[in-house]
C-alpha cells in the first residue's frame, strides 16, 4: 500500500536494524560511503523482498515495511549465528 509520508525517516532506521538482524546487512560507518551504503541497503531490501515473495524493487515501500514489522523469529533468514 502507499507510504504514509511523515514517518519515513524512522522507518529507514527500523529497516536498517531489521536488515542487520536478519539479512546480514553491514553499514560502513564512515559517512564517505553514504552512496555505497544506500546501494548495499537496496540490495538487502531486494534480498528480503525476494525471500517473502514481495515485488522486488529495492525500495522501502509500505508492503515491505509492514512485513518487517510482523512478529517473527529472531533467527536470521540468510545466515546462521556465528
Amino acid at each position: 500500500f502507499p507510504v504514509v509520508p511523515e514517518k519515513e525517516k524512522e522507518d529507514m532506521q527500523f529497516a536498517k536494524k531489521y536488515l542487520e538482524n536478519f539479512y546480514d546487512f553491514k553499514e560502513e560507518k564512515n559517512s564517505l560511503f553514504k552512496a555505497k551504503n544506500l546501494n548495499r541497503m537496496a540490495d538487502k531490501i531486494r534480498e528480503m523482498q525476494s525471500f517473502f515473495g514481495l515485488e522486488v524493487t529495492g525500495e522501502l515501500n509500505h508492503k515491505t515495511l509492514d512485513m518487517m514489522k510482523q512478529p517473527r523469529c529472531g533467527i536470521p533468514d540468510v545466515r546462521s549465528y556465528s
Binding site: F1, G53, Q70, P71, R72, I75, R79, S80, Y81
Partner: protein
C-alpha cells in the same frame, strides 16, 4: 538448513525446561513443549526425553532483553524467540522472549507457545527458515488453529533431509501428513457480469473489493487489477469479511465479520482486536452487518443491516440518535439490502448482487445503476 547442515548425530535427544513464563500454567507450558517435540518425532527417527536436572541437549528458557547471548530480545512484538542449531554448549538451546504475552490459545492478544516452540525446535534440530508461506519454518508468526495441527509438507521435507523418515514401527507414515489442502474456492473471474462482492473499502487511495478469501485491488498507481488472497495481506483474517470501511484521516480500515470487528493500519492489526460489534452501539439483536461506508465530509459512518441503516459519529465514537432508519426512506432508489458500500469521488456506491447504485452524497439521490465490476475496466 544452516550452513554445513549441523544435525544431531544421534536419535535420542534430551531437553530440559529451565524456567517458566508467568503468563501460563506450568502444566500448559510443559504440554505445549511436549506437543511441539512430538510434531518432529512423528516424522523422523528422533526420540526426545525430558530431563529435570543437569545438562540437556536442548535447554529451554524464558528471558527478556539481554540474557547472556549476543542476541538480546527487543521487548513486546518484533522478535518473539530464537534457537541455536545443533552443537554442544548453547547449540540446540531455545530462548523465548518473556516480554511477549504467551498463551495456549490462538487469540489475537498473545502468541501461541506451541506454534512458536514448534518453530524454534525446528531450529534446535537444524532447520533454517522457509520462504514457503504457511510453512511452520516461515519466519513470521501466524496465528492458526492448533487443534489437530499438521506439519506442512515443506517442513517434513526439510527435517527428513536431515534425519530421514521415522522407523516403520514408531510413527505414522509421513504420507499421513498432507499439506493443508487449499480450502479456497477458485477466484471468481474479474469480468464475470454476475460478479458480486462481500465488502469494499478504500485504503490509502486504493480500492479493495473482497469476496470469500480473495481481494481485488484497484490502485491509481498501476493500470491493471491485482487479485490476491486476503491472507497475503492479513494472514489471520484469511476467511473474508461482511463489511469494511476506511477512516482515512486516521489511516485506519475497519473490517467486520459476523459479530466482531478489527482495526488495521496497512498490514498491521491494531492490538486488542477483534472486538464485539456491540462496542459500536449495535443492539444484541444485530448479529452481523451487511455493509459500511464512511463519509469523510460529515465524519459519519453508515452501517447497513437488512433494510435499515445506522449513522455512527467517528468524532464522538457513538451511534447517532434516531437510528436505525429505513434505507429507502433516506436513499432514494435504494429499495433493497446493501451487500457492500463505497465512498469515492463525492459519491456513494451501494452494491446489491451484480449491480451497483451510484448515489450523490449530498442529496442522497440515485444517479445511475452499473454492473458491480464496472471498476475493473472490463
Amino acid at each position: 538448513t544452516f550452513p554445513q547442515s549441523p544435525r544431531w548425530k544421534k536419535e535420542d535427544v534430551t531437553y530440559r525446561i529451565l524456567n517458566y513464563t508467568p503468563d501460563m500454567l506450568q502444566a500448559d507450558v510443559e504440554e505445549a513443549i511436549a506437543k511441539a517435540f512430538q510434531l518432529w518425532s512423528s516424522v523422523t527417527p528422533l526420540r526426545f526425553t525430558r530431563l529435570y536436572s543437569g545438562q540437556a541437549d536442548i535447554m529451554i528458557s524464558f528471558a527478556a532483553g539481554f540474557h547472556g547471548d549476543f542476541y538480546s530480545f527487543d521487548g513486546p512484538g518484533g522478535t518473539l524467540a530464537h534457537a541455536y542449531p545443533p552443537s554442544s554448549g548453547i547449540g540446540g538451546d531455545a530462548h523465548f522472549d518473556e516480554d511477549e504475552n504467551w498463551t495456549k490459545f490462538t487469540t489475537y492478544n498473545g502468541y501461541n507457545l506451541f506454534l512458536v516452540a514448534a518453530h524454534e525446535l525446528g531450529h534446535s534440530l537444524g532447520l533454517g527458515h522457509s520462504n514457503v508461506f504457511g510453512a511452520l519454518m516461515y519466519p513470521i508468526y501466524m496465528a492458526r488453529d492448533t487443534r489437530d495441527y499438521r506439519l506442512p509438507q515443506d517442513d517434513i521435507d526439510g527435517i527428513q533431509a536431515l534425519y530421514g523418515p521415522p522407523r516403520e514401527s514408531s510413527a505414522l507414515p509421513t504420507k499421513a501428513f498432507h499439506p493443508q489442502e487449499p480450502t479456497e474456492m477458485t477466484p471468481a473471474e474479474d469480468c464475470d457480469p454476475h460478479l458480486t462482492f462481500d465488502a469494499i473499502t478504500t485504503l490509502r487511495g486504493e480500492i479493495l473489493f473482497f469476496k470469500g478469501g480473495y481481494v481485488w485491488r484497484k490502485s491509481p498507481y498501476f493500470s491493471d487489477i491485482e487479485h490476491d488472497t486476503i491472507s497475503s495481506f492479513w494472514p489471520s483474517l484469511a476467511s473474508g469479511f461482511d463489511a469494511a470501511y476506511e477512516v482515512d484521516k486516521k489511516d485506519r480500515v475497519i473490517f467486520f465479520k459476523d459479530d466482531q470487528y478489527w482495526a488495521v493500519s496497512g498490514y498491521s492489526i491494531e492490538p486488542g482486536f477483534p472486538k464485539p460489534i456491540q462496542n459500536l452501539g449495535f443492539p444484541t439483536s444485530v448479529g452481523k452487518i451487511d455493509a459500511a461506508v464512511h463519509d469523510q465530509n460529515t465524519k459519519k459512518t453508515y452501517f447497513f443491516v437488512g433494510n435499515r441503516y445506522w449513522s455512527y459519529n467517528e468524532n464522538t465514537q457513538s451511534m447517532e440518535r434516531g437510528y436505525p432508519r429505513k434505507i429507502a426512506a433516506d436513499f432514494q432508489g435504494i429499495d433493497h439490502t446493501v451487500d457492500a458500500a463505497l465512498q469515492k469521488n463525492g459519491h456513494f456506491y451501494f452494491f446489491h448482487g451484480s449491480n451497483q447504485y451510484e448515489v450523490d452524497i449530498k442529496n442522497k439521490k440515485l444517479i445511475r445503476i452499473m454492473k458491480s465490476n464496472s471498476w475493473f475496466n472490463c
